[in-house]
Symmetry: C2
Subunit: 262 residues, 2 copies
Amino acid sequence: MSEFDADTRVEPAGDGVYDATVTDRWNALGGGANGGYLLTLCVQALARELAPPDPLAISAFFLRPGEPGPAQLRTEIARSGRRVATGEARLIQQEREIVRAVASFSDLAAADGPTDVRNAPPDLPPPEECLDLTAGGSLPGVTITDRFDYRLPQLPGWVQGAPTGEPHSEFWIRFKDGRAADTIALPGIVDAAAPVLLELGHASITVELTVHVRGRPAPGWLACRVFTRHLIDGFHEEDFEIWDGAGRLVVQSRQLGLVPGA
Amino acid sequence: MSEFDADTRVEPAGDGVYDATVTDRWNALGGGANGGYLLTLCVQALARELAPPDPLAISAFFLRPGEPGPAQLRTEIARSGRRVATGEARLIQQEREIVRAVASFSDLAAADGPTDVRNAPPDLPPPEECLDLTAGGSLPGVTITDRFDYRLPQLPGWVQGAPTGEPHSEFWIRFKDGRAADTIALPGIVDAAAPVLLELGHASITVELTVHVRGRPAPGWLACRVFTRHLIDGFHEEDFEIWDGAGRLVVQSRQLGLVPGA
């Protein structure tokens, strides 16, 4: 079993409730469990409750930091439609709500409407010509960097203590253990990189994250584009796109964050 | 009292429940109540429940079409934090859930973090030099066009039966009766225009809408920019920005829609 599948496993406890364990293997910069990892636990529970196979639209509100330890997912179905089914999952730790997520699932393989794309994948050199973010060792305590491979044309400025002043980044990502990224994994991967706002010298706390899964990815490396265009009084959005090796957009996300202490 | 305030009024019925009336004065293209109008009823109920004054991040899932008639808003508080308070509202008609919305509120006037904007307002001629969308009469049945003034450099192609092929639009908007657009009104205004996908010849049904309110608008005309960049197998996002007369971004939204019948 892959690290992802082992660490996001949910066990039915009846009445739409699932037990899970938040491991310390997906910790983010700054400590604590990565938000995308916590969101994935919600997605895994909803995938058991909703009939269609693919998460389509997910919105998660991050209410409190999540910590390694036991967790419970409490789900509820809002509507099971023919094409789209919608439900809610609340991630609870020690009787405190950590994440509230609402998600619609659909069958992306059955979608057969028109296509018209006015954007292009990131223009990246092949992964083997890029730099390995953690070649010099993983970031201490940031265990999520042991779960993913990151390949970049150049190292981020903030990693070298010199933020570039450009809140824009493009890079490759994949699971380190070779697991293919499917539509269950994509909602977590859009949160698997450090905030691009670090290139302006600021950290970020996520208030809300919306993920729109747009296709089933081809196996292999995924090309990411992430940028922030509006930092206003400490609040900012982070937009994230992931394109698969076949050059198709497979997920698009936006999170609203705030600069801590601002 | 303004049309907006009269038609989005909610009356406390105890235990976090509010009664409201969905009027037929905000009907959208295709009939039925406009989604942004229904969302505003959720926002009005949550504004009574949550202490901070400004909606900050809102995600709404549209489960069924809303129709003119009585409605109930059932709210629940997820967390009341110092800077951010989060709650959920479900809009119910005839015991069926129409909209589920989760929202975080904050005090935008108290935000004092850094600002760095990498975008510019739409480059529009002044409203008085633009065309009035409904100068030739409002669109039959589309009563929401009686509630707003729209001013555009040129009329949309789809209105003239000739879609432009460019899913991008910029225009001015304001309430027709002169009400100022505050942060309570902005989440509805991002859904007050026809889908820009009509310029590709396709209609759209909203699955999910996320709104991030970024500032308190100055009174007067608001400049809108709306675009769709990824139509994939019938699913598409619509991005919407609104800038106030002082040139500040005041709200940003994205909705995931699907082409009906696709």
